[in-house]
């Protein structure tokens, strides 16, 4: 199809959409939900209940559940967890060892449930599942409250960059729907979240088996005036709806039409770009102007985060796969050394003599030296010096690269700060992680940091901001912007996170 024909098609589509019944229209965005907790917390039942209540399940799927005759624990209701079953081996063992993906639509929105196991021996599975999540649901049993495991989960969520967390306090029916029990757990949760970079942390009392506060307001807990779970989730922002941000365009491949078109194809990972903008290759420092943003649906005047496009530049600045385009002022660091937090994913432990490669969003770079500095204890968030690292460990590592690669600090610009360690021989994915500091020089990164402290920011740049969820997001945005500018100017810098949302509750500190 020619571009013109494609344009015509999209006009036709507009006419169709207007007349199509609601069910045929596009939904308003996608929210990815990570559910974490153990089998005992009733996780499968909660997800099953959400699917059962809120979604467009097919009748044969419902019938399957009814026909099985299996009952949810301690009740006469169908076993909703059956909607979640996966691999045969796991079904037989009665545990979930891998991540399962499940999809459901409400009237206006697509939800993707990423179901991950909760036990400590599956930290890696949870971390990989969490890396895709927009919102995480942490499940606890009201009888047990916040446990060590909950802390570990929160730490993993924070590590991989999840910003919105819901504490689902399940089995409220088993504690007589007691407000006191809930408030105590909620306070513990707030204390726990205090040290992490979450933008929103909400606790909801519910009973998955009976459906209290899952997709309808519970009449058993009149003291709870907040939203039920689904209502809360429907208000969460969709992926791709974030505005602003620093422009990043990792180049995936170069497209040619056999004539004069040479397009840099990729997905905008942050910010936006318009025809006429000047873009810079972080590694070479060379700049060029965008003359065309091409897609098969027709050329665009501008494009934003999440869109897959091809950029044609006015001059050939010799960039190809692996390059990251940015503005000239706010470039990612052309890093030679990276300090990272890694989740070790492979059963094969770290081996200082093995050959490893570093994968960034679109680049693959040889690692010249790789040193494990410490392991993190997720329950206490303390680190212990170590040179060893094995499966499920969270390690602090220092990595020197065989050549420069464009890498951001993950807490500032997430996608271009994500990393994967690849075994050079087998190709296996050994570890996934985030850059916490990077340096264009080959000597020690992270040393001699300039720290943008919370106090400094709150008294200056962010003086006009409150501690509400929206303002917290804005606080971090400004702090990040300042850090990126300083870093582009060669200053090694770190940010102290702002305090968690102040909604009048005692933070418990």
């Amino acid at each position: 199809m020619t571009a013109q024909a494609a344009l015509k098609t999209s006009t036709l589509h507009a006419a169709t959409a207007a007349s199509a019944p609601a069910a045929l229209r596009d939904l308003n965005g996608i929210v990815h939900l990570l559910t974490c907790g153990s089998v005992d917390d009733g996780k499968s039942t909660l997800i099953g209940r959400l699917l059962w209540d809120a979604s467009d399940l097919y009748e044969d799927q419902r019938e399957n559940v009814r026909r099985s005759g299996r009952k949810a624990a301690d009740s006469d209701l169908p076993d909703f967890s059956m909607l979640l079953d996966g691999l045969v081996a796991e079904r037989e063992q009665g545990i979930t060892i891998d991540i399962a993906w499940k999809y459901f639509d409400t009237e206006t929105r697509r939800f993707v449930i990423i179901d991950s196991p909760g036990h400590e021996q599956y930290t890696r599975n949870m971390a990989s599942g969490a890396s895709f999540a927009d919102v995480a649901i942490l499940l606890v049993d009201a009888r047990a409250g916040v446990k060590k495991q909950t802390k570990r989960h929160a730490a993993i969520l924070d590590l991989v960059g999840v910003k919105r967390v819901v504490l689902a306090v399940n089995k409220m029916d088993l504690v007589g729907y007691s407000e006191d029990v809930f408030r105590k757990i909620e306070a513990d949760f707030r204390t726990l979240c205090w040290k992490f970079g979450f933008w929103d942390a909400t606790a909801i009392p519910l009973s998955a088996v009976y459906g209290d506060n899952v997709s309808t307001k519970s009449s058993a807990m009149p003291w709870y005036t907040g939203p039920h779970l689904l209502e809360h989730l429907e208000k969460a922002p969709s992926r791709g709806s974030a505005e602003g941000g620093t422009f990043r365009f990792p180049v995936q491949t170069v497209l040619r039409d056999g004539q004069d078109f040479r397009g840099l194809a990729g997905t905008i990972s942050s910010g936006s770009v318009a025809v006429g903008d000047s873009v810079t290759d972080a590694l070479s420092g060379r700049s060029a102007k965008v003359v065309r943003i091409a897609t098969m649906n027709g050329d665009l005047k501008s494009a934003t985060s999440g869109q897959a496009i091809a950029l044609q530049l006015d001059v050939d600045i010799d960039v190809s796969r692996g390059a990251v385009l940015s503005t000239s002022e706010m470039r990612p660091v052309a890093a030679q050394t990276v300090e990272a937090r890694l989740v070790w994913l492979s059963e094969t432990a770290f081996d200082p003599r093995a050959g490893y490669l570093l994968r960034t969003v679109t680049d693959l770079v040889p690692i010249s030296s790789f040193e494990i500095k410490a392991l993190l204890d997720l329950e206490t968030m303390s680190s212990h010096p170590s040179t060893k690292c094995g499966v499920n460990d969270i390690a602090v590592a220092r990595i020197s690269l065989g050549r420069s690669a464009a890498i951001d600090v993950f807490s500032e610009i997430s996608e271009t700060g994500t990393l994967m360690i690849v075994d050079a021989i087998t190709g296996a994915s050994m570890a996934g992680g985030v850059a916490t500091a990077d340096n264009a020089k080959s000597d020690a990164p992270g040393d001699g940091h300039f720290i943008l402290t919370r106090e400094m920011l709150a008294n200056g740049l962010c003086r006009d901001l409150s501690l509400s969820a929206n303002d917290r997001e804005e606080f971090m945005r400004r702090a990040n912007e300042a850090a990126i500018l300083l870093r582009a100017a060669g200053v090694s810098v770190a940010i102290e996170p702002p305090p968690l949302v102040d909604d009048g509750m005692d933070p418990g500190l």
């Binding site: 996966g86 999809y103 994968r359 994967m420």
Partner: protein, 301 residues
Amino acid sequence: MTASPSHLDLLEAESIHIFREAAAQFRKPVLMYSIGKDSTVLLHLARKAFFPQKPPFPLLHVDTTWKFRDMIAFRDKTARDFGLDLIVHKNQEGLKQGINPIDYSPSIYTDVLKTQGLKQALDKYGFDAAFGGARRDEEASRAKERVFSFRAAGHRWDPRKQRPEMWRLLNGRLGMGESVRVFPMSNWTEKDVWRYILREKLDVVPLYLAKDRPTIERNGQLLMQDDERLQPKEGEKVVMRKIRFRTLGCYPLTAAVASDAEDLESVVAETINAQTSERVGRLIDHDQSGAMEKKKQEGYF
């Protein structure tokens, strides 16, 4: 915060990203084209990913010789219209042995003509990556499938040896003897496929639309007599019924549904309101418990 983007736009962008990653990372990819609605969307996404270039890989169709005639005509026209290379592979040994879906059990038939046929084709041309239209919402064992799904030598899928994936990082570095199946539509649902076909005005095989067709009722399912190789057994007869298909495969193994939906809009409306999930119409899945997972381990998809 701006308004939420359309979920189909998000899915489309994700699929394009996956296509581009795979094309950049693998030496010799191929697109497994099976002619149905999922393949139609898959091919459209591939064309978008590389526009204005043509997709830098051929299409591969593993032909069991039992596909509906309308499917074959559609396949050839599609390749011609878009100017794409089409490789059609048949398992000649299997055909010589007389394996067919009427006299043999679905599992033997599928293994020989589809699974073995696909492996033969991938080996013959040395493809190291094959794009497929599989979706995680199709079936329980697929709910855990990766976007880059690794196959050991002999195309074996080992659920325990799959690589963890994180963020938008896709690691396609192959070990010795490994190849990969790439699923750009992992996060699409059946309804998305139809919505997208409608939105993008894509042509589909006419069998998706209701029409009077010759049918035989067998084991409570409606089969279409696409040619003389399928004959009524004793007590059965060929009856003209208004039917359409929700999925397309080998015609003796694909059940039809009675329907009046003669245009795409009505089909989609019926699908959105459907009471059964689509694989009910695909007979091989009922063959045994955990059927799909077993087929995968053997190399079927």
